[in-house]
């Protein structure tokens, strides 16, 4: 087992517009990429509870050519989108934490 943040070379979150958070996970080598991509931890059903969103609203899209996985889901912080009242992360740049600690077999 290894934590995702120890396997990834880039692990970043950002707004994809005001109502979505998108997380990019990039890998240096093909074997590690495939190990993570094919793991049960990288399914919408596994990721959804980390962010309190329904599984059908989580998109996990691999990008084989660049050894990357993109995970996109609805933003939960703020009353109506980024920068609205009581938001916690206007740019969405610090939302990767729960995913970083996921254990990959």
């Amino acid at each position: 087992m290894a934590r995702l943040e120890d396997l990834a070379s880039v692990l970043r979150s950002k707004n994809a517009g005001p109502f979505q958070i998108t997380i990019d996970v990039l890998f240096e080598d093909e074997a590690t990429y495939r190990r993570v991509r094919d793991s049960a931890a990288m399914t919408p059903a596994a990721i959804a509870p980390l962010y309190g969103v329904p599984g059908q609203l989580v998109n996990v899209i691999p990008f084989d050519r660049v050894r990357a996985i993109k995970i996109t889901f609805p933003r939960q912080s703020g009353e109506r989108g980024s920068g609205s009242a009581f938001d916690r992360d206007v740019y969405g740049a610090q939302q990767h934490g729960p995913l970083a600690e996921v254990e990959i077999p």
Binding site: K14, P18, G83, A85, R88, Q95
Partner: protein, 452 residues
């Protein structure tokens, strides 16, 4: 081989860049120099209030060499999403700076200013006529929300830019724009493949952010040819690699393989990224699928209240362990002390505890008790006066709040400043983030011409 070269000044006008990089770009004899000045990233405040995140001095510093050098070289300069939000006040803010630079340096040119504000009534009518599609995960738009918006802009595509350039504009200053339109309009108008042009533009809109070391605050050269394009950082010490360019392709968008633009979709799943020389990466294989229905993305902001907040430190084990109980007690005390005439709907109180779970809230996974916490107490209310009043009550209640096991009976908070409370002004939210069916893009985004 026929080719078209374009320079991207940087990723956001005002963030700075190395003038030597711009000079390297101009030495490559580009057909266009572009700059993206806006984003929704800083939130709805800037669009709603019509103010700019980037200050006048920053824009003046970035725009002066770009304007002076592009005019000297006779290369069109295109600035999109002027003043961040791209609304009319934002656009005029940058236009005045541009005119000041022109006067100061004795520059003469033909300026096209393209407006992007859409009247609330027009958007409400589009809602009524079912010509509105929400962006993924955006909440629904109603006629009432459209009408209550402080400002709505549309993100223009390539057509208005292409029109301005075809009419002989030396400088194009545009309101809210698709980032890609700034850089893709000219190559598409000259007959280059729209898939390659839009993909190149997507990479160029962040300046040298696709480089190593990455830098949104530096310049990039894009060269498009018949069946590929190339990108190269314009500072000698930066390079692009296939990985850095490919990774940037998927930056801050919901799908890694498809670019959604008003002109159509670009499928990048078969794109090839190759190293050409030390600094340059070649990209090919991006496929364009034109849209069947022109849709323009709208962004609208609505004022929802006024904010006041305070930041204070906590360095006491028992206070930190009792934060949830203190919060509940403070809410109850504030309600009890407020005038009877102040309704429940007219204010809201929020707490964030930095060091505990401020960034992730309920989704924080680490629950180890911290030794120190930074607490933000925030009030959002119908008026600034009420927000200030609610915050003042909450701050004093928190400072002196009793709780079981309390030893720190002289005060629960360490304030870093006097005054402790900040009146932070208007609070906005994105009321509109939707696509609108459009028939005539040039009519939606009217253009003014002036000769300086």
């Amino acid at each position: 081989m026929e080719e078209l070269r374009i320079v991207s000044i940087n990723g956001c006008l005002g963030y700075g860049y190395e003038v030597a990089s711009l000079e390297n770009g101009i030495a490559a004899k580009p057909a266009l120099i572009g700059g993206d000045a806006g984003s929704t990233d800083p939130g709805p405040y800037y669009l709603g209030s019509g103010t700019s995140l980037v200050k006048r001095a920053q824009i003046l510093r970035d725009l002066t060499p770009a304007l002076v050098k592009s005019r000297a070289a006779g290369v069109p300069l295109v600035i999109g999403s002027a003043g961040m939000g791209g609304g009319e006040p934002n656009l005029q803010f940058v236009r005045r700076i541009l005119i000041d630079i022109a006067r100061e340096h004795g520059l003469h040119f033909k300026l096209a200013t393209i407006h992007s504000e859409i009247p609330n009534e027009q958007v409400a009518r589009a809602v009524r006529d079912k010509q509105i599609t929400p962006m993924p995960d955006a909440p629904p738009l109603t006629e009432e929300l459209a009408l209550a918006s402080s400002r709505i802009v549309g993100q223009m595509g390539t057509e208005p830019f292409a029109h301005a350039l075809a009419q002989g504009a030396d400088v194009v200053l545009a309101g809210r724009s698709c980032d890609t339109a700034i850089y893709a309009a000219l190559p598409i108008a000259r007959g280059y493949d729209p898939g390659l042009a839009l993909h190149m533009a997507k990479i160029m809109e962040c300046g040298a952010q696709c480089g190593i070391p990455l830098a949104a605050n530096d310049s990039l050269l894009g060269t498009i040819r018949r069946d590929h394009f190339e990108v190269r950082p314009l500072a000698e010490r930066r390079i692009c690699t296939p990985e850095s360019v490919a990774a940037h392709t998927m930056y801050e968008q919901g799908h890694p393989l498809i670019l959604f633009e008003p002109e159509g979709e670009v499928d990048m799943s078969n794109a090839q990224f190759e190293q050409v020389d030390r600094q340059t990466v070649r990209v090919s294989g991006s496929r364009f699928q034109p849209t069947r229905r022109l849709r323009i993305k709208l962004e609208g902001a609505r004022r929802v209240g006024y904010r006041a907040f305070t930041l204070a430190g906590i360095r006491d084990r028992n206070v930190i362990a009792s934060l949830d109980k203190i919060e509940a007690a403070v809410r109850a005390t504030v309600r009890r002390l407020l005038d009877q005439g102040v309704t429940e709907e007219s204010f809201k109180l929020g707490f964030r505890h930095y060091g505990r779970d401020a960034v992730l809230g309920p989704y924080e996974t680490v629950r180890t008790p911290p030794h120190e916490v930074g607490t933000v107490i925030e009030a959002v209310a119908d008026s600034q006066e009420l927000a200030d009043y609610v915050l003042s009550l909450a701050r004093s209640s928190f400072l002196h709040c009793p709780f079981d096991g309390r030893k720190t009976t002289a005060g629960n908070l360490a304030f870093p400043s006097s005054p402790s409370d900040m009146s932070a002004g208007e609070v906005y939210e994105f009321s509109v983030y939707h696509l609108m069916d459009v028939d005539d893009q040039l009519a939606l985004f009217p253009m003014d011409w002036e000769t300086l």
